[in-house]
């Protein structure tokens, strides 16, 4: 994927600077914790790991989540980690198999695509860091704009990651909806008819695929999208 040169340059030096250092504020002097960390701890009901207040404010600004939601997300995320890693929850990565045990994702037919889209792991193993997790919750929250939601919905539905929804993508999408298993799939004729109808409704330039703009256009007229594209912890 093409990456702008500016970003590459920034990535090298800016990466470490802005990231929250969760370990820094925990203990001071005689072992008493600082007031801000204590506030975060009190809000979370005394669990072992802490989310620094500065990071909390930053996440509030950069995502659509409220303070309670971020703290709850932190709690749930640290529960996915083994006990030894919980102190560094902010920088740890949770393997995909663990993420999929969350009840919100367990029953979701798009679970693999969600992990793939939101994971920023360079290894391609779809593991998620805490910030990826927050990203995901932010996009799926109540207050996210429909622009953001439709953008990410497009990426989730784009099974082959080629930037357009072609017939194969649509077929996989419908199969995800109707369920795994042979008897729950639509017949070939029905699938053809369905894909034909979808393309008729949404493919404006009639090239046989749906690009992002067409998708966002059709979603803006879909009354159910905002209420169904939602995950709340």
């Amino acid at each position: 994927m093409p990456v702008s040169p500016a970003r590459v340059a920034r990535g090298a030096e800016g990466g470490a600077a802005g990231r929250a250092r969760p370990g820094a504020r925990r203990c001071h002097g005689s072992g008493r914790v600082t007031c801000e960390a204590e506030a975060a701890r009190a809000a979370m009901g005394g669990s072992a790991s802490l989310l620094p207040r500065e990071a909390l404010c930053e996440y509030q600004e950069l995502t659509f989540l409220s303070k309670q939601e971020i703290l709850l997300a932190y709690k749930r995320f640290s529960e996915l980690l083994p006990k030894e890693e919980r102190e560094n929850a902010c920088s740890a990565r949770v393997p995909k198999s663990q993420i999929l045990t969350l009840p919100e994702l367990r029953a979701n037919p798009f679970q693999h695509r969600i992990c793939r889209v939101f994971s920023t792991s360079y290894d391609g193993d779809d593991s998620m860091s805490f910030e990826d997790f927050l990203d995901m919750l932010s996009v799926f929250s109540d207050s996210a704009t429909s622009d953001i939601k439709s953008h990410y919905a497009f990426r989730i539905f784009d099974f082959d990651d080629d930037g357009t929804l072609d017939r194969k993508d649509l077929e996989k999408l419908v199969n995800c909806l109707t369920g795994q298993g042979e008897e729950s799939r639509l017949s070939n004729m029905e699938m053809e008819q369905l894909i034909q109808n979808i393309l008729e409704e949404s493919d404006i330039d009639k090239d046989g695929t749906i690009n992002l703009s067409e998708f966002q256009h059709v979603i803006s007229r879909s009354p159910d999208f905002a209420s169904s594209f939602k995950i709340v912890l």
Binding site: P2, A6, L62, R106, D135, Y152, L170, L194, S213
Partner: protein
């Protein structure tokens, strides 16, 4: 090579996007965004190719560091990338004024967020509705949200009526805050019309009389502030202020009707817009079903399994329906004739069924009124039965008629979606018209005048000295009975059925199975109750309080019933179309409630023996009376507004405005069509296509 794959696609994809940005909907969205923060000529519509990431990166750079224009979180980037862009923006030098603006807007946003978080704790039943959504999906959740809306609406109506009507009466009657009251001066009314002696249960009475009174609103309840007859005060004096109670009573009635209307319209704003603007049946569109089909909030694997099945069923049914439509278009003339004559015949049967219902309600009401006025109460149970006869007949009709309709519609050979809608329309009509028939039969009894003495009063003064209280009592009985039936059905039908299905494994029982949670049936039930409440509040000001408590309890009853004794519907109900449908039917109920109230207030003479409108001809007459007390200038203004010289030009102006908007919408539609055609042509235009390397 990489360039070969990406470059032509990017340039090719650029052109359609330009055209998409000419669309009127996009332009208006742009205008709205520009008004919200800063000017932008071209939004970065990220390209359709794999240059997605590049386009995203381009976004914030084009902004030039003015991230205050569009908050960082609205960019489709990961947190790390947004943080870097924020820092990039921070590095740039911002003037002192701009920095102050940014920090103040940030702190304002923080304060608003805190306020929103606090107010979300006050939301009623937030956790319950979330858990229902997780287990059953958004369709059923919309029913419970609707129930919550009705609880709040009824509570607000109660507060309105209580504070403007009941509270001043109670304060002045008991002399709190140094208040006093003035009784209505006796005008030249026939003395026989003013005789009203409610029994009030003096002396030693049996215990069951209290129970009977509680259930039918007579006896000791009749003289309380629950009913219209209690409010006999003309004006209350709170220190030096004169509080005109009759006027307040009438205006509070209009206020709660207007409040309900505005609140419902506001709530259904979105649904109306969607439905009116688009010609195609947007709720049924395939894109909506596929792209917005899955409820991401489902957490229960069983519910997910059910959702898969229902989605499969829905898609298959819709595809089949489309094939059916094509077949219908190929029908021969002979077949069409046969089907239309069959439909006319079935509609005649439907009308016959409806007439049967209405006639039986009429007879039951007349019988009940004639026999319950016999003061010689022989049997407690028989008397109660007679009192509740109209309610029972209505409930029976509401139960039987839909079954008949869903049986008949199979012969009419409509498409499945239309079948459902037509049955629903017929059921709605039955339920709401039943209330109308009840009220009509009550009025025919009340205004039946044979003797001259009776005609002098304007209503049947012997049987109904205080007819508004009678009507209030009927509405009260309907509401109580409705509540009892809902509880009884859950206790005595749903739970035993569940026990039977779980413990008895014989074939017929298992084939029957659990009942589905029929959303439309449940919604019609509560809308029926709400219509009764709207009509009855004028005659019984404390009725909304009873309605609030009733719906509050029904929420928990329905929730328990849903969780333990029901299975979800096979055909999924979509949240958007449900919300729209609920509010449209509620609106129909409200408009239908206007009619009986209008007739009672303006047409039927108010009773001269009780109530605040004793000295007026009709209840409405208090308004012209008050206007006559205004200064002459104001009177003239009001008279001119109500005259024809104002009304006719006003009507014409409204028509012109309407025609303007229709023409505008037509022009927009034409532009959209032209642009669509151009988009298709552009693909083959040699200017935009670069040959592949």
């Amino acid at each position: 090579s990489l360039a070969e794959v990406f470059l032509p696609e990017e340039t090719r994809a650029a052109a359609p996007v330009d055209f998409l940005q000419e669309l009127p909907s996009y332009q208006s969205a742009l205008r709205r965004r520009a008004a919200a923060g800063g000017t932008q000529e071209r939004r970065t519509a990220p390209q359709g190719s794999a240059g997605l990431r590049a386009a995203e990166a381009r976004g914030p750079e084009q902004e030039g560091g003015e991230l205050g224009v569009r908050p960082a979180r609205e960019y489709p980037l990961s947190i790390a990338e947004k943080r870097r862009d924020c820092q990039q923006a921070d590095i740039k030098y911002l003037s002192g004024w701009k920095q102050w603006k940014r920090t103040s807007s940030k702190s304002l946003k923080k304060v608003l967020n805190e306020a929103k978080e606090l107010s979300s704790y006050l939301e009623l039943w937030r956790h319950d509705i979330r858990s229902i959504e997780g287990k059953f999906g958004t369709g059923i959740q919309s029913y419970f949200s609707f129930l919550r809306f009705l609880v709040l609406l009824n509570f607000i109506i109660f507060i309105l009526m209580f504070s403007f009507v009941t509270l001043p009466t109670i304060i002045s009657e008991y002399g709190i805050f140094n208040s006093s009251f003035a009784k209505i001066p006796p005008k030249n009314i026939e003395p026989h019309c003013t005789v009203y002696k409610p029994s009030g249960n003096k002396g030693l009475v049996y215990f069951y009389t209290y129970l009977k009174d509680l259930l039918s609103g007579t006896g000791f309840l009749e003289v309380t502030s629950l009913f219209y007859g209690y409010y006999t005060i003309d004006a209350a004096w709170l220190s030096i202020l004169r509080y005109n109670l009759p006027l307040a009573y009438l205006l509070a009635t209009f206020a709660y009707l207007a409040l309900s209307l505005l609140w419902i319209i506001k709530r259904s704003g979105e649904g109306f817009k969607q439905n009116l603007v688009h010609d195609e049946d947007q709720f049924q569109s395939y894109c909506n079903k596929v792209f917005a089909g899955w409820d991401f909030c489902i957490t229960d694997p069983n519910a997910a399994q059910l959702k898969h099945r229902s989605l499969q069923y829905e898609l298959q049914t819709d595809l089949e329906e489309e094939r059916l439509k094509r077949k219908i278009a190929d029908r021969t003339m002979k077949e069409k004739l046969r089907i239309y004559s069959l439909r006319i015949f079935i509609n005649i049967i439907v009308i016959a069924v409806l007439s049967g219902c209405f006639y039986s309600i009429y007879r039951a009401t007349v019988f009940s009124q004639e026999n319950s006025n016999d003061v010689s109460n022989t049997n407690f149970q028989a008397n109660l039965l007679v009192q509740y006869l109209p309610s029972m007949v209505i409930t029976l009709a509401n139960f039987i008629a839909p079954q008949i309709f869903s049986f008949l519609i199979r012969f009419e050979d409509y498409s499945p979606a239309f079948e459902i809608r037509l049955t629903l329309m017929r059921c709605i009509f039955v339920r709401l018209a039943n209330i109308g028939v009840l009220l009509f039969s009550l009025w025919s009894q009340i205004s039946y005048c044979a003797t001259d003495k009776c005609k002098a009063c304007g209503y049947n003064y012997e049987l109904y000295p205080c007819w508004e209280s009678e009507v209030g009592q009927e509405m009260y009985k309907l509401m109580i009975f409705d509540f009892i039936i809902i509880l009884a059905v859950t206790l005595f039908i749903d739970f035993p059925r569940k026990l039977l299905v779980t413990h008895c494994s014989c074939k017929p029982v298992q084939w029957c199975g659990l009942q589905e949670f029929g959303i439309s049936d449940n919604v019609l039930e509560i809308i029926y109750g709400q219509t009764i409440c709207w009509i009855g509040t004028f005659f019984s000001p404390l009725l909304p309080a009873i309605a609030t408590i009733k719906y509050f309890i029904i929420f928990y009853v329905k929730k328990i019933s849903l969780m333990h004794t029901r299975k979800p519907a096979a055909r999924p109900v979509r949240a958007s179309s449900s919300n729209f449908f609920f509010l449209v039917v509620l609106l129909i109920g409200l408009v239908l409630a206007f009619i009986p109230l209008g007739i009672s207030i303006a047409h039927i003479p108010s009773s001269k023996a009780c109530g605040p409108f004793r000295s007026f001809n009709t209840s409405w007459a208090v308004v012209p009376d008050t206007i006559l007390g205004f200064p002459t200038g104001l009177q003239q203004v009001l008279h001119s507004i109500a005259s024809e010289a104002f009304a006719v030009p006003f009507f014409m102006v409204i028509c012109l405005v309407m025609f303007y908007f229709i023409a505008l919408a037509g022009a927009h539609k034409r532009v959209v069509e032209q642009l669509r055609e151009q988009l298709v042509m552009v693909r083959f235009d040699p200017v935009f296509c670069t040959p592949k390397v």
